[in-house]
Symmetry: C2
Subunit: 575 residues, 2 copies
Amino acid sequence: MGSSPTVRTFIFLGSMKKTKQQKNLRIIPLGGLGEVGRNMTLFEYQKKILIIDMGLRFPEETMPGIDYIIPNISYLAGKEKNILGVVFTHGHYDHIGAVPYFIEKLGKNLPMFAGRLTKGIILKRQKDFPGKPELNIKDVKDGDRIRLGPFEIEFVKLNHSISDNFGLLIKTPLGNIFHTSDFKFDPSPIYDLPTNFKRLRKIGKRGILLLMSDSTGAEEEGHSLSEKEIMENLEELFKKTKGRIIASTFASLINRMQQIITLSEKYKRKVAVDGYSMKTNVEITRNLGYLKIKRDTLIKPKQTADYPDSKITILCTGAQGEGEAVLMRIANKEHRFLRLKKGDTVIFSSSVVPGNERTVQMLKDNILRQKTNVFHYKMMDIHAGGHAQKEELKKMIEIMRPKFFMPIEGQYSMLVAHAELAKKAQIPQKNIIIAENGNIIDVTRNKISLSKKEVPSNYVMVDGLGVGDVGEVVLRDRKVLAEDGMFVIVAIVDRKTGRVRGSPDIISRGFVYLRESKELLAETRKKVITIINKATGGGVVNWAYLKNEIKEKIGSFLYSKTQRRPIVLPVIIEV
Amino acid sequence: MGSSPTVRTFIFLGSMKKTKQQKNLRIIPLGGLGEVGRNMTLFEYQKKILIIDMGLRFPEETMPGIDYIIPNISYLAGKEKNILGVVFTHGHYDHIGAVPYFIEKLGKNLPMFAGRLTKGIILKRQKDFPGKPELNIKDVKDGDRIRLGPFEIEFVKLNHSISDNFGLLIKTPLGNIFHTSDFKFDPSPIYDLPTNFKRLRKIGKRGILLLMSDSTGAEEEGHSLSEKEIMENLEELFKKTKGRIIASTFASLINRMQQIITLSEKYKRKVAVDGYSMKTNVEITRNLGYLKIKRDTLIKPKQTADYPDSKITILCTGAQGEGEAVLMRIANKEHRFLRLKKGDTVIFSSSVVPGNERTVQMLKDNILRQKTNVFHYKMMDIHAGGHAQKEELKKMIEIMRPKFFMPIEGQYSMLVAHAELAKKAQIPQKNIIIAENGNIIDVTRNKISLSKKEVPSNYVMVDGLGVGDVGEVVLRDRKVLAEDGMFVIVAIVDRKTGRVRGSPDIISRGFVYLRESKELLAETRKKVITIINKATGGGVVNWAYLKNEIKEKIGSFLYSKTQRRPIVLPVIIEV
């Protein structure tokens, strides 16, 4: 399988207008260390910039207090007028969630293009940010083409765990680029069309210069499960369950929500939807006609008591063990109306996001302690991810037969695994680029390479109303505070005598339990007084030096007594 | 398969001496919420107490700064003279690590019994705690029997990931109890004897009143991998690798370390061992003859540069992505001598401990970025856990044919899964006990039941030199500090005028970046002055009320401006 036949087909009007400007295409994925080009990608050609997606990520464990991480868009500062528009692949937050943070910076009238459902989700989210401008979004459907400057974008429906997911065929003056978005091949999805391979093959035949393909499943063997199999397994559970069914999944897994609702209707169960994000998504998708629910299926959580247990499904969030989510509140007996009881069946219809394993384990244990049944994806196939696995990824490469290949949307090890697949599919090593966010990928007709230059791509952290104001210093302090707490010493020094007045005040949190540490505190006070009186004893006092002295000496004293290192903060007041 | 034939065999001298004392046997697992009886278990009969294991656990994510969790032994307070002794199953820290914290409380001369290797590890650990008393440990070997009061304990070698692992046949006046320790059945272990099924069957035939069996693998289908398969796969890697091999595993996986060393010797590689715990364990096991190393195999990490890459193996800790461990330091270019280079092969020969998935992913990514090869247990079978899976667990139940069954050593969901296996093996539901730590399990000849009483079993946290002094209050403060930091306000009030002198000092950490928040700080100062001046304006000042007022008002002001809630600590000084 050579790639040269595909290249010959690139005769393209755009490329005729030769200028002395930048002749290559630059692709710049943004979004910090980690998954490349999942959240946001720039395509730049002769200074004109096309943006794909504007998503956010959830913080790492090492970022306490942080709500989200958003891409660093400082590269776009000063280039606002060159931005042609934003194209969204689908409505998951890692692809759309940063819009409210960027829209003012990038220009209120920035043209945006998204599927109808994606548009609905973006608009709903924008409402959660009062005072933000209205958005200029046009909705697109499968097969639509739009032109933005030198780019023509064709929307190509692909299966994922949410409707209106579009791969993008981006025609550029240099050739065609196919961006898969998140995708999987599903020969038998539920409430959705199966993958249209005929069309994909046609696209492949038009010649693909560069394939950018979803790597999330590149380390998983075989083929992802079809939603049909999931549906059949879920139906088994519905068939045999007599008590209430409590089905928890991601609020973003619209397809799974539909399955639970349809099965509930088939087995004459009412459905109570609970959890803010899930209720919101039910509302959006139902209003737009993406979720089919019979008129009298939905009831409120409070009403579940009015029906026999065998007639009740509770559809809720919290399968990841999130502290505030519905399932956790039910399991911890903190929910307003719902308590677990013997005979209930809890279904976790979602995989465990890495990092959440322990919390999910504790949640499961807590549910089992209440004598309920638990089913999760490790016990039977009641969850399928939204991402293609090795066999599907190979097939995508074989269909597109690209000249160049760039694995995107995955941790580095997944990109490496995906690149291996491409190599096995006869794409030469030099035509495969494993990039990182902030890299500049230079594409010409004959060559793909990483520029030596990079654009800023560090994390931008969102904490409450602050965007980017929490940096390394604040985070480092938070970590130290979390480990060993803080220890403030307030001492009053008499200006005349140079001696400490009274006994220094000590305020401490997160270090030791003060009431049981009176001796330690008394000793510390004594030491502080000695240090200060010695320093102020003769001549000019160097206050900065003195403070440092207290910090260090008291710090090591406390360490020797406790082997803990709280942040020591001396305050000395001269009166 | 009925259980009655097994019961008839229990004619036992001990049971003849009938007293009016407690006639039942009490089993009390200790160790906080979670894995039942992994760390420590008490057997109490007529006030005499036998202790099995004294281990520790690693803290949850919700316990910042905590080093370990140890069992709560307050139940033993006042009963020290009734303690017969401690029997250790094997040398892993979750079974022996709490010894230094308990030994003084329970009596310096407390008799202890452990395999030779276990004894070596316990003694070595005791040395890390200077000033602690010497221990009174007797070593035991397979087949040994000891008598402790009403209990006779026979040591029964079982396979695990460390040598000298003993299941315990505990003969009590009520009948025989078999405690499996951690175990797996391995028909072809490396450097170890295969499971002696003949002997186990003999034990089963003597009649088992209660089987307490390891549940760690109870949710895993099939049979655990044999170390022979692991060895063969590792050998494949050694055979084909040209560059250096960097093999990382748990320091507690002595068997795996032996495999790596043996393969290195076979393929003419020198071995540099790095990492404190691994070096320690190599030393202990080598001295005791458990680890076989040729005289000239080991070199120092510094010496690796003196040999061709094809002649080097580096055996190190850090497969869990631990921040300070060797592999992380190598990957982050922070190791004193070792840097990764193209051609290196890094082997992760261990599974990922739940909760470490993200860190291990980042570590792997970081290694791959340096163009090295990575092999881990998801790619090929180069790791086997030390725990029996479903088929082995069933077999253990079938061999022992116990009257009563108690799953131990696993998260609650694993205990439930293990209990399911026992039910399928025809043990009646009423004879199966799923307990929690702190429960009292009452055993008679005819009945096993949970007492309504419980013993204290909350977590005891070890933080530096403090044992149990960090409680809920301190932890809660640490969590808040980690999320949003702290904000100390120091104001000086003139006693005569009642007005604030100068401008209040503000000290803050982990909240906002102070240098970029001057406006916020200025506004806050103004507000503080207003609040104080108002309160001190007329008559008697209620200082406690005033402080609270500042806390609340400034707290909500800061929240309105930032949507963060730092701990606000006002200090008011009257001069």
